[in-house]
Symmetry: C2
Subunit: 277 residues, 2 copies
DNA sequence: TGAATAGTGTCTGTCAGACATTATGGG
DNA sequence: CCCATAATGTCTGACAGACACTATTCA
């Protein structure tokens, strides 16, 4: 099609003359909120079940700004790289894993979120099966570790590497036209780098919401698992207790029996199940 | 804190020396998917109810590339402007409205999505009350108009300005770890500019999902409305019929009676309701 | 046998689907 | 009275909450 614009140019002529520096440009990064489940072995009593904790992957910065602060794994988006690809690259570099569940979380771009310059961050949410995962050392960061996540009404507490990072937050009601929505606001001064406290909190809330209209939890579990393990994950993520009979009924259609049972516990052995469909 | 990095610099020294051109930069835009409801007056039979249609706002480009193609309203993000602010600015410029429901939709950044240069787009979803809305002419676009949205299994059809834009799509199952998710793929050659066909489709699916776990529909309606109007909107967005008694029961807790009734129709008058809480 | 957990049975109240019925206004 | 839509009544089956009960293993 040889349509001409107001300057009498065809599309090809226009593109040949186009000056990409006409508009000011900026940098873009990706940051990833990577959740997993950590099983705490119960050595005190062989009869007790192992405790499960929700964990999130953090890396310790070895550069300014926020030198030695913990942060979400992230990196710059290449000039010829799609954002989701960049997120997968970051995950691959930090964890050695491909082919993860990855989902867009949001765009964070307050002008002052990075003291160096204007950087807009596209963020992603991911969930790892703890059995397949192997944390690798990376030259880009001082350290990386899983932090246990505990949430209350007012704060998010991250525990790991002998440290405890406390991120206070507030639930704010935002009015959008006639309806109200809730937004989580994190105070400026929190131990995480940049606005990563806010991103992490948003990721957690997204996870809570996603858990009961998708099957993402199964990406947190090994191939075979017991219903109790599964229920514990729901409880950890949703932050409350669930009744076993109701839970079993609801989850049953998604489960496949294996006929194999947990051994060597001082109580009735539980069956291993697999994800079905 | 006067921590020094591997080059022996404090944070202030590091920032003073920081060269923002060290990493290649790119441009960012926002694009907005703005839905509304259009009431078609039923002039043929005074007894019939007015028909309601889901509509989306499109603008006609007056520049290369995609000269004279219809596209979603959008614009570049300023270097000191937050993305959500940019989306609100775009909406304000096109519609004269502030204070809308606005929600992040996703980030679109395939390297070749814009033939001029690398542009990553942050997209937003919005819903307008048709009563408060006034479409304004803008010097930045050749035309702007509401297009009626019709969806089938295979295509999205947009009707407006005497034109019919057909956007074929396919539902693709994407495997993410153990679970499957659905993704909507739009063919390259469709009448909308850039990847706006895909963005619009994603926006519609998000809207469908949002409709039954938030109260966003009420932002599409005037202050007072009948339950049938409300039900029609659900039907339009979800793409199917609902049973009146069940719908009334479910929606009742969110409604406030007004005691006022629709006049001058040849059937039992329906009561006007308001959104409650 | 008792501790600890796995798993089932069942009562009850709520609620959605389905369909029938009544209400109302204007020609 | 008929048309067209508004609004309610009610039967039924599915299902979640709640709690009691049975099953299994090992020290």
């Amino acid at each position: 099609m040889q349509k001409k614009d107001i300057n009498g140019l065809t599309e090809q002529e226009f593109l040949d003359k186009y000056d990409p520096t006409m508009f000011e440009r900026l940098s873009m990064s990706v940051d990833t909120v990577i959740f997993s489940i950590d099983t705490k072995l119960q050595t005190s009593n062989y009869r007790k079940l192992d405790d499960q904790k929700l964990t999130v992957l953090l890396v310790k910065r070895n550069e300014h700004p926020f030198l030695e602060h913990w942060s979400l794994p992230g990196g710059f988006i290449g000039v010829r790289e799609a954002p989701a690809k960049a997120a997968r690259r970051v995950l691959r570099n930090k964890t050695g894993l491909d082919d993860l569940y990855i989902e867009t979380l949001g765009t964070y771009g307050e002008p002052d979120r990075d003291p160096r310059m204007r950087i807009i961050s596209s963020t992603y949410l991911s969930l790892l099966d703890r059995d397949k995962f192997k944390l690798q050392a990376s030259p880009y960061v001082a350290d990386s570790a899983w932090f246990e996540v505990e949430v209350t009404d007012r704060e998010l507490v991250l525990c790991g590497e002998g440290q405890q990072l406390v991120i206070p937050y507030e639930k704010a009601a935002i009015r959008n036209g006639k309806i109200k929505t809730v937004e989580y606001q994190v105070t400026e001064s929190n131990p995480l780098a940049f606005d990563h406290g806010k991103i992490l909190l948003d990721g957690l809330m997204r996870l809570r919401h996603k858990i009961d209209d998708t099957d993402i939890v199964f990406n947190l579990l090994p191939e075979e698992f017991t219903i109790t393990q599964l229920q514990q994950i729901y409880e950890i993520i949703l932050g409350g207790k669930l009744l076993a009979p109701a839970f079993r009924r609801k989850i049953a259609p998604k489960l496949q029996e294996t006929g194999r049972y947990v051994q060597e516990k001082g109580h009735r052995p539980s069956q291993y199940f697999m994800y079905k469909e």
